[in-house]
Every structure is written in C-alpha cells, then in structure tokens.
Symmetry: D2
Subunit: 160 residues, 4 copies
C-alpha cells in the first residue's frame, strides 16, 4: 500500500440527535484537518454528520455500505463500497480502520465495538457504551471528552 | 421450512474455565432434552461444551464455522457449516437462532450480542456482559441464574 | 466433528423448468438413499425440488439462506441457516459441501461453480454451464448424464 | 453520494503472465485518464498491474481485500478495504463497480463474473472466460480486443 495516510472509522447510529450529529461533524472535520481518511458505514445519522464534517475540510470519506445500492450512501461519501453483505459489513468497517471513534450508537454500534476490540483495534468512545463483566468495568473503550480529544487519541493509538 | 423445532444459539468464548464449561454443557443438555436444535460457532470452549452436552442427550448440533475447513469443528458438531467469512460469521450464528444464550464470553461474544439485539433476537445471559449507556444499565440482556433457567427463558422468548 | 456423513451441495436456479425440477428431485432422493446430507441455498426451484426429494427418502436437508428470515426457506429445509449476507452466502453453500452437483442454473450458479472450483471442491454438472478459455474447454466441471450418475460421482469424489 | 466519478472494477488472477500484466496496466492507465476510480481485489497479479497503471496516471485505486490485514494490499492501492470475509469479498468487488473488466483470470474471476452478471453489472472481457449452456454461447460477457476498447465499453455501459 502506497499511502501513508491513516484510516479512522467513525461509528454510531444511522439516526442520531442534533447533539450527537454536532459531535460527529466535529470529529469528521478534525480528522480531515489531520489528514486522516474517514471510514464509516456510509449511511445517515452519525455517519452522515461525520462525512459532512470531513468533506467541509476537504477530507476523503469512505462509506462501507450494507446493501446492494450505492445510492444508499449519504451525500458526503466519496468512495462508496457496496458490500451487499448486510450488517456483516460492520466487521469490514472496523477492520478497515486503524482506530475507531464510537459516538453514542445502538446495538449495531455495539457489534462494531465488539469486532474492533476482538481484532485489537483501539476504540475511543464519545458518549457511547460502557461494558461491565462480573461487576467490573471493562476499560477497553477509551473515553474522550471532546471530538478533538477523540481524534487525537485515535491518531495516537492507530495500529499499523 | 418443515421443522417445528426451535433453534437456540449458545455463544461464548472459544476458551473457557471449567466452571463455564460446566454451565455450557448443562445448557446443551437441557436444550436437547427440550427438543431444541443447538446452533453455535462450532469451535472449542463454551461452544464445544454446549455441543457435548446436547450430544449426550441425543440432540442435534449445528456449528457455523468462521474458516475454510470443516475439520476445525469441535467433535460434537453434527452439522458443520463452513462459511469461510471469518468472524463475520458471528452474525449468521445469532440470526440462525430464535433466541441466544450468552455464557461469559469476550469481545467476539459481545459482537454477537450486539448483532442479536440489533435484530430483535432475545439474549439470555449467564455470567456475561452487562451494558451501560449514559450511566444507565441497558436491560436488554435477560439475566438467568442457572442453565435450566436460561433454557426455559430462551424457549419462552424464542422469536418465530 | 463426530459425523461420518457426507455433505453434498445441490446448486441451481431458484426458478426452474419441470424437467430440471425432476432431475433435482431425483438427485435429492438418491443422496438421501446413500445417507448423504443435502446442502443447498434453501430457496425455491432446483433447491426446493432437491430438498423435496431428499425429504421423501428421510434425508437431512440444510438450507443456507441469503436473507434475514428463516421463513424464506422452502418447506423441505430442516436446518435453515440464516446468514443475512445476501449472495455472498453462495460461497458458504459450496464450502459446506464435499462435492457439488450443479443442475442447470444461471449466473448465481455460475458464481457458486467458480467458488467451488477455486476451493478444490469437485463440481458435477447436469445440463449446466460449460467453460471455455482461449478457445479451449475447461474440463473441471465433471459431466453426468443422469441424477444417479451425478450422485455416484459426487460421493466418489467428495473431499475430506 | 457526492461524487460523479465512475467506479470500474478490474478483475483477474493474483498471479498472471507478463502479457496479462501489460494489458491490466494499460487498462488501469486508461481508466485513470478517463477519470474513473479503479476498484479491485487489492492483491497481486492483474490487480497490482491495474493499480500500477492507474497510479502512474494519478488515478484513485481501491483494493477490497479478502483478509485481515491492510499490509496484504499491493503497493499501488490507495484505499485498502479490509473485509476479513475471505473470498466472499469477491461479490463486494463487483458490486462496488458500475462495470467490470475481466482480464484472463481463473476460478475466482469466474465467481466474480457470475456475481456481476447476476447483479446486472456489465462485464467486459479481455482474454477471459467464455460461457456456454446447452451447446450455445452465452453472450453476456462483452468481448474487447484491446485495453482501450475495454475501458471505452466499460464507461459507456456503466450502470448508475
């Protein structure tokens, strides 16, 4: 691979509140400013807001779609990947990234967090799931307090 | 589909403690006694113990394998499915079931829990993950205190 | 894996002529008589006819479905696998078998033939595709003149 | 999706002769000159030659990898997609394109041709498979005599 650029996934719900969209857009903007390529699931909500942010700063956006149709991509996806494998594409979203930023999200996002952690890909969390087992918190999801902190941590922790 | 039988997935780590193996084996045995078909990821640990239990009661066991090779199935898998799609097969494990029993487990199990809950498939938990968001517990994982209780709840909640 | 049974896939169109259905049903019947487990894509046409034949002789039938819903399985599928990965499930159909019998079929069947041959899984053809490259026939698809011959060849060539 | 660019897949063996590599490189170069984005399976042989050609003209290259590791991408892939779903990724390669150019190739390429034709995605062939059924040639693979002709036909036939 010729590129030196880093690939960072942003995951979160395909529907989201205005507050979450604002966080996601800021994450996308910050990733683009840092020269990272944004990977996401290509749909609406957090994904769209992140792509919008990245695009506004001239960043590159990749959307790894579950369905059969590139038209399902949000308007800010530049490189749509049409997997046609449904939500099994969640694993491709996180595997295609060197670190993952999770913003809020529901059970689909939880599956992506699981796939990322299973693969040793760092997960930075903004208002997202917390995990406990046997009464103890699992500290694998690295918390961030702001979009800028999330991006800094993601870039610092990005695996090869 | 001609069968009236219910399909219940047992998910958990491919390595596990003796205590977890005992729980899994008892779950498998109980599922077989109730006439349910056991679906799992086909490998070792919790999966193997559950298959061993089901087999000991004459139950049917299906192992949905990640790799390329049926030989990777544990010795108690009767119907090995060779997906060759890696851990994307996690989604097929839970989708092929009408309810899921999670026993302990690590991040792969977490991804399966996420996929199941996203699909509206009930998840019964035995010593497994607890989920929190925004400081509040998500109550989607239904706790059970014993293998027998887990199986009863799974069969009662099984979706069509 | 405890089973000594052989797994043979039957592939072909989800719609088919009466003549093809008759071939497929006879293949299914013969597989069941020989104690083989029938693997297929779980839908209609050739798949349904093969499952009907196998069921009529008390055979076991596995349907590896593309979609999200076990209800899509034909009525003779006993073990429905709900992959939710769309037509990427074609590779799981052939990988789960030790030999493949292709009956007629269209482009989906062609993709399955390609996946099987790439994996070194023998393909027996009944009125199905012929392949040529650079003006020469590729002889990898082993022709059969009858269902019984197809089943005999499949069982003889079945890989481990 | 904001982009107006067209996505064209180049498929063929991960090992290839010098002559095929020359064809593939010329196809890649021509696609880049026409402003199309090259999609491929990301590995060696025809895929690498096509990416090298596209890169030499400043084109964008996307490699949809079967494995777990971005390092497996050939050196000319700019956007590596790490699917981790093995050769089931073949379907994502063709679905992500609006037309497919097949150069020589073996059974994996055959599976991709099958998936593309099943999905209504045009396939242009350069020295690749010919398909026959019931003694008659299937004319779905559109022949081209040169890389330039293949690219022109692919761009003209590209689906939306």
């Amino acid at each position: 691979m010729v590129t030196k650029q880093r690939f960072i996934a942003v995951i979160g719900g395909s529907e989201c509140s205005q507050e979450e969209a604002k966080l996601a857009e800021e994450v996308g903007r910050e990733l683009a400013k840092q020269g990272a390529i944004l990977v996401c699931g290509g749909l609406g909500g957090v994904m769209e807001a992140a792509c919008r942010g990245a695009s506004s700063e001239g960043g590159v956006t990749v959307g790894i779609l579950p369905g059969d149709n590139r038209q399902a991509a949000n308007p800010y996806v530049q490189i749509p990947i049409v997997t046609s494998i449904g939500y099994a594409r969640n694993i491709a979203v996180v595997k295609s990234a060197q670190a993952v930023i999770a913003i809020d999200g529901n059970y689909g996002t939880l599956s992506e967090i699981g796939h990322a952690l299973q693969s040793g890909i760092p997960v930075i969390g903004l208002n997202t799931w917390s995990l406990f087992k046997n009464g103890q918190q699992d500290s694998s999801i690295i918390p961030a307090q702001s979009p800028a902190e999330a991006v800094t941590k993601a870039l610092n922790l990005a695996v090869k």
